[in-house]
């Protein structure tokens, strides 16, 4: 019973959404289910937050390794949550945006979350550079192609690329590195991306069918 009802729900909802495309009166179902999906997703966010708290409170209680940093997570989470849910310091009324300039939520976002997020991602520049230095070797034709394409794209988006091939006349302007970078992005790159997208599309379609028909049921976990 604990397996059958979820399988039935997946089958009914999935089939209904596919069939609704072909039957006009059911056309609005997509919008309705999208809203339902968003509402359940909000509860999933709350579940995630609850789980985060549970994990860190457990870590704190059992004095596990680095337990002191769990206090930072719990404090950061609580302060941001209170600032956002109660719109503390928000200059507008209750209908104004949660991230209105001047609110505590906005200030924490700008002075904590945004710098942390941007720096975390920019940190990847160092690791990618160091990894590519070790991995990029023109060992064979394929690796050479990858290397050349990456090099042209990198160079084509810098002033150095413009400077290097700026002397090439307009009649052969395709050979200028910035133009070559644009051409690579718009032609061979597009072809490769499209082949991958068609593959992904077919994969998603077959996986959706497997889920709707109950062939794929790993998302249900065990039998308990």
């Amino acid at each position: 019973m604990r397996q059958q009802i979820p399988l039935l729900i997946t089958f009914i909802v999935g089939t209904l959404l596919i069939v609704s495309v072909f039957i006009p009166p059911f056309g609005d179902l997509e919008t309705t289910f999208n809203i339902w999906f968003d509402i359940i997703a909000v509860f999933a966010f709350f579940l995630g937050g609850g789980n985060l708290l549970r994990v860190h409170i457990n870590k704190l209680r059992k004095r596990k390794r680095d337990w002191g940093f769990s206090i930072v997570t719990i404090l950061g989470f609580s302060v941001m949550l209170i600032a956002g849910l109660f719109k503390i310091g928000n200059p507008g009324d209750i209908a104004s945006a949660v991230d209105a300039p001047g609110s505590l939520f906005y200030d924490i976002f700008n002075s904590v979350q945004y710098p942390l997020s941007a720096t975390m991602y920019s940190l990847l520049a160092f690791f990618v550079a160091s990894a590519s230095y070790r991995a990029f070797r023109a060992k064979n034709r394929e690796a050479t192609l990858l290397l050349i394409a990456a090099f042209i794209i990198l160079l084509g988006r810098t002033p150095f690329g413009v400077m290097l091939t700026g002397w090439i006349p307009d009649s052969t302007s395709l050979l200028q590195i910035p133009n070559l970078a644009i051409w690579i992005m718009n032609s061979p790159n597009l072809a490769g991306q499209r082949a991958i997208m068609i593959g992904i599309g077919l994969g998603v379609i077959s996986m959706s069918l497997r889920l709707i028909l109950g062939i794929e049921r790993s998302y249900l976990g065990g039998d308990k």
């Binding site: 729900i9 997946t10 909802v13 999935g14 959404l17 289910f33 999208n34 999906f37 509402i39 997703a41 909000v42 509860f43 579940l47 937050g49 549970r54 680095d66 769990s70 930072v72 997570t73 719990i74 950061g76 989470f77 941001m80 009324d93 209750i94 209908a95 945006a97 949660v98 200030d107 904590v112 979350q113 710098p115 942390l116 720096t119 975390m120 920019s122 940190l123 520049a125 192609l145 394409a149 990456a150 042209i152 052969t172 302007s173 395709l174 051409w183 690579i184 032609s187 061979p188 072809a191 490769g192 499209r194 082949a195 997208m197 077919l202 379609i205 996986m207 959706s208 709707i212 249900l220």
Partner: protein, 273 residues
């Protein structure tokens, strides 16, 4: 904790305080100067704390990492609450709640159905308990069914039909580079980036490239002979794609790095104007 750790932490706290005071003094004429000075100092401290990982894992990095996890989780929860629960759910569930949150009430006979996702959402939260954890399978099934049903149609349209139809393009040029005869083609035979030759070559590369790329992903036939050669060409196209994607990603990360360094030198240290 070792003595060195205490000294380093004390030094960082001292520098943080000094930076705050100096910024507050320089902003003394502005409204909320002290608050803004604290925000800039905090952002600079967190930026440097993350970059300290380049040396090795250390308590400052761990502090910033743990703070990021907590703040991000709460950020998305608040955004989801105000945009979906207040913006989409309350106006359909109750007139009282709608007026309290100053949202326009959306009266409809079908509004009662919006209790279904609420009940399913509460069932999802049961995952936090051991005894009733199984109840979370129902909303999960709903999420999986909705995703499968929507993606089936969406991907069939956008990732399959549209992509296949876009691949079949005029191989002898199209407006504004429509084929006007061999003579005109020869007379325009230059390598200008917007010329007819470049446009025609692009269309050929896309057409052949997509077909060969798909052939590479077809594993039900041995890749030998003409099929093997097409598959080989497909690998080359894919390698160019991966190279281009790599270059593009690196440039994106580098522009973020430039943004952070600009913040440190311009907003925090005020060395550059």
């Amino acid at each position: 904790m070792r003595r060195t750790t205490y000294i380093v932490v004390a030094g960082v706290v001292l520098l943080f305080g000094l930076s705050w005071v100096l910024h507050a003094v320089s902003m003394s004429g502005e409204a909320d100067g002290i608050e803004r000075a604290f925000m800039i100092t905090m952002a600079a401290f967190l930026t440097l704390a993350i970059y300290s990982f380049l040396y090795k894992d250390n308590p400052f990095y761990k502090f910033a990492e743990h703070l990021y996890v907590g703040v991000s989780a709460a950020y998305w929860m608040c955004q989801a609450f105000w945009s979906t629960i207040v913006g989409n759910l309350f106006p359909r569930l109750s007139e009282g709640l709608s007026s309290y949150f100053q949202q326009p009430y959306q009266a409809s006979g079908w509004n009662i159905t919006y209790w279904i996702p609420v009940i399913l959402g509460i069932m999802l939260l049961m995952r936090l308990t051991e005894k009733y954890g199984w109840m979370s399978r129902w909303p999960l099934a709903m999420i999986v069914g909705t995703t499968a049903g929507l993606n089936f149609v969406r991907y069939l349209r956008s990732d399959f039909v549209v992509q296949v139809s876009s691949t079949f393009m005029p191989l002898l040029g199209e407006d504004p580079h429509r084929w006007q005869g061999f003579g005109a083609f020869i007379s325009n035979l230059d390598l200008s980036a917007t010329g007819q030759l470049a446009a025609i070559v692009s269309n050929w590369v896309i057409f052949i490239g997509v077909i060969c790329g798909i052939i590479y992903f077809y594993f039900s036939k041995e890749h030998s002979g003409a099929f093997g050669r097409a598959s080989r060409l497909g690998i080359w196209i894919l390698m160019i794609t991966f190279g281009a994607s790599f270059g593009y990603t690196v440039m994106g990360r580098i522009s973020l790095l430039v943004g952070r360094i600009t913040f440190l030198f311009k907003d925090w240290l005020q060395i550059i104007s």
